[in-house]
Structure formats: structure tokens, C-alpha cells
Point group: C2
Chain length 199, copies 2
Amino acid sequence: MNDVETRTRLVREARDLFAACGYDGASIRAITKAAGANLGAVTYHFGSKRALYEAVLDVIFGELAERVEAAAAPPGPTPDRLAAVVHALFGFFEQHPHAPRLMLHQLATGDGIPAVIVPYLRRNLAAIRHVVEDGVRTGDIRAAEPNLVAFTLISQSVWFALVGRNLPAILGEGAPEAFAHRIEHHVADAVSRYVARET
Amino acid sequence: MNDVETRTRLVREARDLFAACGYDGASIRAITKAAGANLGAVTYHFGSKRALYEAVLDVIFGELAERVEAAAAPPGPTPDRLAAVVHALFGFFEQHPHAPRLMLHQLATGDGIPAVIVPYLRRNLAAIRHVVEDGVRTGDIRAAEPNLVAFTLISQSVWFALVGRNLPAILGEGAPEAFAHRIEHHVADAVSRYVARET
């Protein structure tokens, strides 16, 4: 392995182990072993375990921000653009089931949202804000407050990523896959009704 | 201390330590010491650490279910009844900041929702379902699906309990207390718009 490969593998294995065991639970020994690297590789490539953790968050939340921006960018009816953002979030969490778990570990410690992901969260908010502002300007939607639209959109999507697979049993619903699709549609619908013009 | 006092103190101290340190992180030694009980008290009163943990969840989520049912019960306009449920959730989480943390630790382990709290979650859902069904029957709201209304109401409220105190800094908003009030109002508004009749 060259340096780039080793670095990439360390980030990938660290991502999975942090998600499974939490920050404290994932040892440098376990991470380097899983990545097929020597014990000093974390220090060599990142300087510290904390810096490796932040590199993991950087990769994951960077990808999320890119997806949200790409989903929000194309012009079209405002409800469709907001539904595309919901779809981006559901797709991202489906492909990265470890992402909410990483956030959970962090939040559970009471340390709050790590500084490294704040710029990405702000990019997500800015993408949604632009969609709302476009819609208000063209009269497509009522003058809803962008931050509140973002809260309603993101909170429901992330909450589903966190507990969704437990819900069908509690609600007496059927197959988890059909349920995920139904909730994605529901979140887009709830956001669309929230911004709808009063008639 | 008599037995009832000891049991109550163990549950209270365990609640705080599980919330702060997670299930594995909170030792029986630390819990009994904080409760001023001897090391054998957990086994004597609960049988096991796991049973003590479930007793903690039982107390917390039992209180939550009672509050939600009490908030949902009084008759009135459907949006007001749903707003009362939102208010009950925000009030509960404000008074019990450890409650979402306990849930987080549990969810972060990937073990899902503990079986002991499922009956309470179903009581919350049933309370919201009755409000929605009443409103649909009287024509107060459109024929929204009760489980979806509950999802929109609960997901936003719990998400705020989990990350709310981090949001003002990210959003560039002011005082956390005013922000909590604003978001509570917003969640009630979003739910109200979701169930509003199409005109």
C-alpha cells in the first residue's frame, strides 16, 4: 500500500469502528489492525486519534453537503426541489447507516456537535435556504422562514435515519423498505404543506 | 433509609449516571455510592444492573406517557390539542434533559429501542391517534394518517431535545431559551399545517 491507500483505509476502518464502538471504544490498535497498517500509522498520517476521528467526520459530512447542494440546485417547482433534498438525505443515510450512529455517539457524550462538521451543516442549511428564498421570490410558496423549513425537513429525515428500522414493529407496519419509502414521501409532503401558500 | 427510599435513590442516581456515562460506563459501584447504599443494594432491589436500567427507563417513559395522555385528553380544536401534546414533549424534555441522552446511548449501541419502553411509546402514539381521529370525524382536519401525524410531531420534538442547544450557534440565533419557545411554536404550527383541510 502507498500512503494515499493507507490513509483511505484508515479513514474507512475508523469510520466503521467509531460507529460501532464509539470514540473511546475504538482503539488505535483495532483501527490500524483492520486497515492492515502498522500501529504508528495513525500518528504518522493524522497526528492523533482525535484528528483521525475528525477526518472521518470530514469525509462523511462533506459528502452529505455535496449531495444536498446537488439536489437543491436544479430549478423547478419549490416542493419538488425540497423533495429532492429529502431524497438526498434518505439516500445518504441508507448508503451510510453508520453516519447517524457517529453523530449519536458524539451527542451522547454531551460534547455537542463537533466543530469540524459545522461548516457542512451550514452548507446544508444554505442550500435549503436558497430553495426557500427562490420560492418566496417567485410566489411559488408563502413567506416561510428558511431556517424553520430546514428544521422541519432535516429533523424528520435524521430522526428516521436514527430510529426508522425500529418503527415498523412499534407501529405495526410491514416491510422496512416500503416503510422507508413511505416516510420519505411523507416528509416531503409535510414540508410541502408547511410552505404552501394560504388560499 | 428504608427500602423504598433506597430503591428511589438508586433509580434517580442510576438515571443520572446512565445518562452521563452510558450503560457500560456507569458502574454498580458508582451508582450505589452516589445513592449512599451498599454495593449489594442493586442486586437486592433489582436483581441485576440491567433490571435497574429498565426500572430507570420505566419511570422516565411512564411519566412521559402520562404527560402526553393528559395533554391530549381535553376536548377542543384539533390544532390546539396537538399543540398541547407538543408542549408536553418540550416541557418533559426541558425538565428531564437526561431522557434523550439515555435514548441516545441505547440507540448508539445499535440495540434499538428497549422493549421496556415500547408500551409507553405505543401509549403516546395512541393518544395522538385519538386526537387525529376525533378531528377527522368532526371535520376539524383533513383525513390525515394518525401515524404520520405522530411521526411529524414526535420526530421534530425529540430531535430538538437532542440537538436543540447546539442549534442557535449554527443558525446564528440568539438566546437558547427564546429559541426553544420559538421551535416549540414552530413544531405545533408545522403539525397544524400538515393536518389542515385543503381549501
